[in-house]
Symmetry: C2
Subunit: 301 residues, 2 copies
């Protein structure tokens, strides 16, 4: 993303993609009142309220999850016309179009009810992504780096993929419709570090970075076991509760069945649950996601 | 509540009074499948799903908060006919009528997103209430006793006041629409202890109880400061977050204003915040409730 003098890098920060995740919405308000906080040399930073109608209704979304509507085949299908499907097409026009984007970087701000701390979600593992991860982690050791590269970045339905590059800032635990002071600070800090990195990288002024950075790679999602009527037969075992990114070993408790029995983890190696008991995933009966730990190699700047 | 031989005490356990508080709803399912868990000598225990329509919609309520519709003047006003106002009148018929109730005790099960642990809420301070509190606390030391006696019990709009006696079991933290294993266990344990107490008390077999029990008395609710448009100017300060029932001294931080300033507690003595940042109260901009600590004297059984 090195650019010539006088050419600025376009960054869009999106908050409120989910209407009941309040940290990003609040930060947008603050930054709109005082833009100096997100200004950086060489950057042109704009903000966008992703789903104001869902926020008005105090809900994650009105019809469908906006953050799953940005797959290429959905954006180009004019027959998909519910509220969020329309909103995705509008945002694609404002920030994209996906695949030939006018926006160099989209930062999409999210909250989770899970105890995931400040998590930087990458949808790619380019040298730029690895350097960003190393930069953020070196200045914010409590940050978690989560890589979602199970498919090519442009195939995801995530909003941030409308930019040439995209990342998500995911901070929890925070209940839906609640604003936590500590969570707000973590989101502001991580977003500021991303902007710092982009500005320094564009000017060729990146400081020395570690050779590698600890990260987690999303593998798959585990669902609650259901009965014939589609009702859960179990809940997440209490040993996992609040323990996102803590190692889960084969044979350790995973589900507590309502009949009193315990379901154990049947994997063939230790993995790392996250998005544990996330409230937004309850309609799909998702219990948690699983990741492996890896060291992301960081190319020299 | 001492009764003659062969006369059983009627207890009703209500779950799902708020549709997105899942612990009580799950316990009701389990108890309906195996009623032996809630059977006690001399007791006739029934269960009631408070607001199944709100649960179906994955919401606290459809029109208004069901747990505020049981004030006498509301129950008798036929012109109040929205969903929960009707539902309240139906429940009053099923369990009440309030003031001349067929039900000796109503136990209403609730969750909070606040870190209140297992809290037993009393709406009265009769000898029976104090003995119950002492019995529960002596067998479950982590239990919190919260007294809401700012007005006479029958004037409250709470569902549990349709019984001759009523209590609430309030357990958190648990996000709305989520089922936590640890929270479920705490709710089951506290409810079981209440049933134990009622059965023992009715038979005149109460064990010796302590002379007094530590409790908190609700005083009032603090609201976020708002601007002229009704938007919050501040959030709850992070020093309070997750610290329900921890002493707040005059002069200590209470609000973090978005302009960077800190609002301090202006009380004239230390008090105890609870329901801190409760998600369900966000539409009213309630920040937290305040209680004083007291020792409830416990009459000899």
């Amino acid at each position: 993303m090195h650019l010539g003098v006088g050419v600025s890098i376009k960054v869009a920060i999106v908050g409120g993609t989910h209407g009941n995740e309040l940290s990003g919405i609040q930060l947008l308000k603050q930054w709109q009142a005082d833009a100096s906080v997100i200004e950086r040399p060489g950057l042109s930073v704009t903000t966008l309220f992703g789903n104001p109608s869902a926020h008005q209704a105090n809900r994650r979304y009105l019809d469908v999850d906006l953050n799953r509507q940005f797959a290429p085949e959905l954006l180009t299908d004019a027959s998909l016309g519910n509220y969020e499907q329309n909103r995705a097409k509008v945002i694609n026009g404002l920030l994209g179009p996906k695949g030939a984007s006018q926006t160099d970087l989209v930062i999409d701000l999210h909250n989770t009810t899970s105890n995931m701390g400040p998590t930087l979600i990458l949808v790619d593992t380019t040298p730029w992504d690895s350097q960003l991860a190393a930069f953020v982690k070196s200045r914010m050791p409590e940050a978690v780096i989560l890589v979602e590269d199970a498919k090519p970045a442009h195939e995801w339905g995530y909003l941030c993929t409308v930019g040439k590059r995209g990342v998500m800032v995911e901070v929890g635990p925070q209940s839906q419709s609640v604003l936590r002071h500590d969570i707000l600070e973590e989101m502001a800090m991580m977003t500021g570090l991303i902007l710092d990195f982009v500005a320094l990288e564009a000017q060729g002024e990146l400081p020395p970075l570690p050779q590698s950075v600890e990260a987690y790679r999303f593998l798959d999602t585990r669902y609650l076991p259901l009965d014939a009527q589609g009702e859960p037969l179990a809940m997440v075992h209490k040993s996992l509760e609040q323990n996102d990114f803590t190692e889960l070993k084969p044979g350790e408790p995973m589900f507590q069945y309502f009949d009193g029995t315990v379901g154990v983890f049947d994997g063939d190696r230790p993995l790392y649950p996250h998005f544990i008991n996330e409230a937004a995933y309850y309609d799909s009966h998702a219990a948690f996601s699983l990741a492996e730990k890896l060291e992301l190699m960081v190319p020299k700047a």
